[in-house]
């Protein structure tokens, strides 16, 4: 099978995967029995899942970032998002509120910092479009002068504690934590990916900086798709319905397996 043909077939699979995810979100949202008296709950759940899908579909469309250097940053964000969702779903009404209020407070804080900086720079914050937009955005949900700013975590807990309460400690230990090393550019990522040991013994095993080549691994796409699928899984676990769910992740896996078979068959017979 020629490379161009493989590329084309692969792109089609990714495109279909994105479409399937959008359809899954539609099904989920349309399946909501929306109670507008607690609309925040639906907004937050819908928003978090939409965020998960957005990140994953963008990620899926860019194989150049399926690398050990970049993919973990994205995957860690997906893991964080999942843990948030899992914890919120344990008590959606008040936890969704907490999530929103914290975000509004953070936005308010950013606006204040920006105003301060502009004044220091001799500029008029009242004329700044970004400040105007942000304040309008906050005020459309809660007046800024009535909005708390919480300097701690949004849930009042660490991600670890949230994972514990949401019964996904393994996910925290084996996904969130390890990928945090890349997200935070820690030594145990930098030393493995961005340094190599000098092969000259006179250099006392000095680690020398390297800029890695782009080497894409399909495994990272699989992980992103898996963590997105988990969001649907956890939602339907909490709010089951009698409809049979068609998992976009499972379809993706089947199609990739088929493609692999085709490639092997055609290469074998070439």
């Amino acid at each position: 099978m020629k490379n161009k043909e493989i590329e084309l077939n692969f792109s089609k699979i990714i495109e279909q995967y994105s479409d399937n995810l959008k359809n899954e979100l539609k099904e989920l949202w349309n399946g909501f029995k929306i109670d507008l008296s607690i609309k925040e709950q639906f907004e937050v759940i819908g928003g978090i899942i939409a965020r998960q899908i957005t990140i994953t579909t963008h990620f899926a469309s860019n194989s150049n970032i399926w690398t050990g250097d970049l993919a973990p940053i994205i995957l860690r964000s997906l893991a964080d998002n999942y843990i948030n969702l899992a914890w919120i779903l344990e008590s959606p009404k008040d936890r969704a509120q907490k999530f929103i209020l914290h975000g509004l407070g953070q936005e308010k804080l950013m606006v204040e910092h920006r105003k301060n900086q502009m004044i220091s720079d001799g500029l008029n914050p009242d004329e700044d479009e970004l400040i105007k937009f942000s304040e309008q955005w906050i005020n459309s949900q809660r007046y800024t002068f009535l909005t708390d700013v919480n300097l701690g975590s949004w849930s009042g807990l660490s991600t670890r504690e949230m994972a514990q309460q949401a019964n996904c400690m393994d996910f925290c230990n084996f996904v969130y934590q390890p990928f945090s090393t890349a997200a935070h550019n820690m030594w145990n990522h930098v030393a493995k990916y961005n340094l190599r040991t000098s092969d000259n013994v006179l250099h006392k095993l000095l680690k020398v900086p390297v800029i890695s080549e782009i080497t894409s691994h399909l495994d990272y796409l699989d992980l992103a798709a898996k963590y997105t699928d988990k969001c649907f899984w956890i939602y339907y676990k909490k709010f089951p319905n009698d409809k049979e769910r068609k998992s976009s992740y499972n379809i993706l896996k089947e199609q990739l397996k088929e493609l692999e078979k085709e490639i092997n068959n055609k290469n074998g017979s070439a």
């Binding site: 013994v201 006179l202 006392k204």
Partner: protein, 241 residues
């Protein structure tokens, strides 16, 4: 029931400390950083003259040096011990070495090394400084092979080098061992790594070598030799991107 993670570690605030680091005054002493620079001369002499003659030469040098030590006890198997030795003592050592006919074989085994490391404290054994200061390329290749071997603390070269240091302590009657220790069969180290007893002895040697380091040199960062040794390496062959 699953084991608690790192349950043997001691919790101090947000830090989990391994048991060994909580016993007494733990000193983090790296074999590569500090001890290799100090014992490389032993490895070179053994490489030049073989195990038997090399060992004899090394011991002779250590015994003579110890005889002329200044007030503080130092381990003269280690090059850094000579850093702060007064010139007078060095002269006495040199004269004694000359009398015993040891200078010549020492220079034969160490000249190329001393050419590479003009600031090495052992340079007192060639007071007339007749070195060419040109690095012998053939020697450099061999030297790097030896150094790679030494980087691995479990290699034969490393083991026999450490054994030499410890043996000199026995000769000077500065080391006592308990009767059940594998070290009572010390001569069997020659069988390393082919027999179990030799591996046990080697293990004891590796565990004890740090104890022979002149800790006050390390604590007060008094030793410039270790720094000089490695920085000289990168001077000889730069590390460039």
């Amino acid at each position: 029931m699953s084991k608690k993670i790192l349950e043997d570690h001691k919790k101090e605030g947000k830090r989990l400390r391994p048991p060994l680091t909580t016993i007494g005054n733990f000193v983090d002493l790296s074999w590569v950083d500090y001890i290799i620079p100090d014992v490389i001369w032993i490895t070179l002499l053994r490489d030049k003259f073989g195990d038997k003659l090399g060992t004899e030469l090394v011991n002779e040098f250590i015994v003579i040096s110890t005889k002329h030590e200044s007030a503080k006890f130092r381990n003269y198997a280690l090059i850094s011990s000579f850093e702060t030795l007064p010139s007078q003592n060095k002269t006495e050592i040199f004269n004694d070495l000359k009398k015993k006919g040891i200078v010549s074989p020492m220079l034969s085994g160490l000249s190329d090394f001393l050419d590479m490391y003009p600031k090495c404290p052992l340079n007192f054994i060639r007071p007339n400084d007749y070195s060419t200061k040109v690095i012998d390329v053939k020697f450099l290749l061999r030297y790097k092979e030896i150094l790679w071997d030494l980087i691995d603390k479990r290699s034969k070269k490393s083991t026999f080098t450490i054994a030499n240091v410890v043996y000199s302590m026995f000769v000077l009657d500065r080391l006592k061992i308990v009767k059940d220790s594998p070290m009572t069969q010390f001569p069997k180290i020659q069988e390393y790594p082919d027999t179990e007893i030799s591996r046990m002895i080697a293990s004891s040697l590796r565990a004890s070598i740090n104890a022979f380091y002149n800790v006050e040199m390390f604590d007060k960062d008094n030793s410039t030799w270790a720094k000089e040794f490695w920085n000289r390496g990168i001077e000889i062959e730069a590390c460039k991107l």
